[in-house]
């Protein structure tokens, strides 16, 4: 996932990734990541919970406006 983000950013397409494993994100260091406190397999929280899924999506997309020099990880507060 991180590799894809780096290729897209090099093509000047900004990316933000959901992450379920913060320790991996801190090793790989993709440009922008939103850490969500859910189990593997549940990146947008819960099945059939559009309200929660949309909140996670909008929180992640809000990070696209940020130019990043190092890498940026933010936490989703459920």
């Amino acid at each position: 996932m991180g590799l894809i983000s780096s290729v897209l950013e090099n093509h000047e397409i900004p990316t933000v990734s959901i992450t379920l494993l913060k320790e991996v994100t801190e090793k790989v260091r993709p440009p922008r990541s939103l850490f969500v406190p859910y189990p593997l397999g549940y990146p947008l929280g819960e099945p059939h919970n559009p309200e929660l899924q949309n909140r996670i999506i909008m929180r992640a997309l809000s990070m696209l406006a940020t130019e990043v020099d190092e890498y940026l990880v933010e936490d989703f507060e459920a």
Binding site: M1, G2, L3, I4, S5, S6, V7, L8, E9, N10, H11, E12, I13, P14, T15, V16, S17, I18, T19, L20, V24, K27, V28, R29, P30, P31, P39, L40, G41, Y42, P43, L44, G45, E46, P47, H48, P50, Q53, N54, I57, M58, A60, L61, S62, L64, A65, T66, E67, V68, D69
Partner: protein, 146 residues
């Protein structure tokens, strides 16, 4: 996972969304190995990992998607119940209708995670993915792993 060799990435700094989200076209790139019934399944037996991807068109009926991710390290039940968890095209339609995003890209992309041989991914398939997104005038991308 313990033996997986992570490597830090290098990417061009200074890239960001240049217009409001409400006017931006956003694509989804998932690594949940989702594909439509008429597309070839992902191949978990490929040495170094299957670096191919599938185009998921915006109007694809999510309930028809299949998931062929070989990993046993995550619960596949969530995705089976609701593919929006990793390919949230129905959510994007709602967000567009609410005016929160400008548009959902006509083509979203599905990869398989677990790539042990990254060169092919970087030089070939991810570059092809970038071309598709540029052709579709995508302004930003949401990456969804599982």
């Amino acid at each position: 996972m313990k033996n997986y060799k992570y490597r830090s990435l290098e990417w061009k700094s200074g890239v960001s969304l240049r217009k409001p989200l409400s006017k931006s076209r956003i694509a989804i790139v998932s690594t949940a190995a989702l594909h439509t019934p008429d597309q070839e399944p992902f191949d978990g037996s490929v040495s170094g990992g299957d670096t191919s991807f599938r185009v998921i068109r915006e109007d694809t009926q999510l309930e028809t998607l299949r998931e062929t991710h070989p990993s046993e390290s995550f619960d596949h039940g969530g995705l089976e119940a609701d593919p929006n968890l990793a390919m949230p095209t129905e959510r994007f339609r709602e967000l567009k209708a609410q005016g929160k995003i400008g548009d959902s890209a006509p083509r979203h992309l599905s990869f398989m995670g677990i790539i042990l041989n990254p060169e092919k991914l970087i030089n070939e398939t991810a570059a092809q993915a970038a071309e598709i997104l540029a052709e579709d005038k995508v302004d930003g991308v949401l990456l969804v792993p599982v």
